[in-house]
């Protein structure tokens, strides 16, 4: 069941809006405060990766970023898709490399695959109740 679909420009200023929207979804599903903050952080990191890494500097203006949220029987599935150059290691990344392992730690499962438009699709699945061992 689709809960959310936002298309936005891959720009830093947009990420706060995505967090606000996904918080609304999580609150409607009755997520605990901890789960809610995990969903917000993971979604934020995935969007930031798309903004920072998916596009060459000059091409971000024409780029896209789509955030979807859907409810599975016992899970919230958030998908962040860009239309960029595809995931690859970048030795000159100024980041610390915390993003992907952080998303993996926060989500029940993380899928990374090529998006329909050739960019990257990051699909994160979250439980609706906290796991017994946090």
């Amino acid at each position: 069941m689709r809960l959310l679909r936002i298309c936005l420009a891959p720009q830093p200023e947009e990420v706060a809006m995505v967090r606000q929207a996904i918080s609304g979804v999580g609150e409607a599903l009755g997520l605990s405060p901890r789960l809610l903050s995990d969903v917000k952080l993971a979604t934020s990191e995935a969007c930031t990766n798309a903004i920072v890494h998916a596009y060459e500097d000059g091409e971000r203006g024409a780029g896209t970023l789509v955030v979807l949220a859907a409810k599975a029987p016992d899970a919230l599935v958030v998908t962040v898709t860009d239309g960029g150059r595809g995931i690859a290691p970048r030795i000159d990344s100024t980041g610390l490399g915390l993003g992907l392992p952080l998303i993996a730690a926060l989500s029940r499962s993380l899928v990374i695959r090529e998006g329909p438009g050739g960019g990257t699709e990051v699909e994160m699945t979250f439980g609706l109740v906290e796991d017994p061992v946090p």
């Binding site: 990420v15 917000k40 952080l41 934020s44 930031t48």
Partner: protein
Amino acid sequence: MHGSQIEAFVEDGDGVVILRGEHDIATTPDLRAALGRVRTGSDRILIDLGACEFLDSSVLGVLIGELRHARERAGVLIILLPRDHASPVRRTLELTGLLDVFDVRESVI
């Protein structure tokens, strides 16, 4: 509150930077600039996250950069955390192992 605010000043020789609201890739340039302003002339930098409601890995990157700066000039960096132990900010630092890396205290904000 989903806005974000950065306050930076020098007090008793300490450089103090206070983050309020949500901080991410959009606010790291301001954060870097604020740290640059208070860094000159202060051996001790306090970053107060007591009223910070969210931070992401790009903010953590700035904090770690600041820690390196501090170590290079034998200075001190102190991170003040929200008193609420369930705060998202605390959890983010815990998940990334940074609670053990930074000199962490409790904020009074």
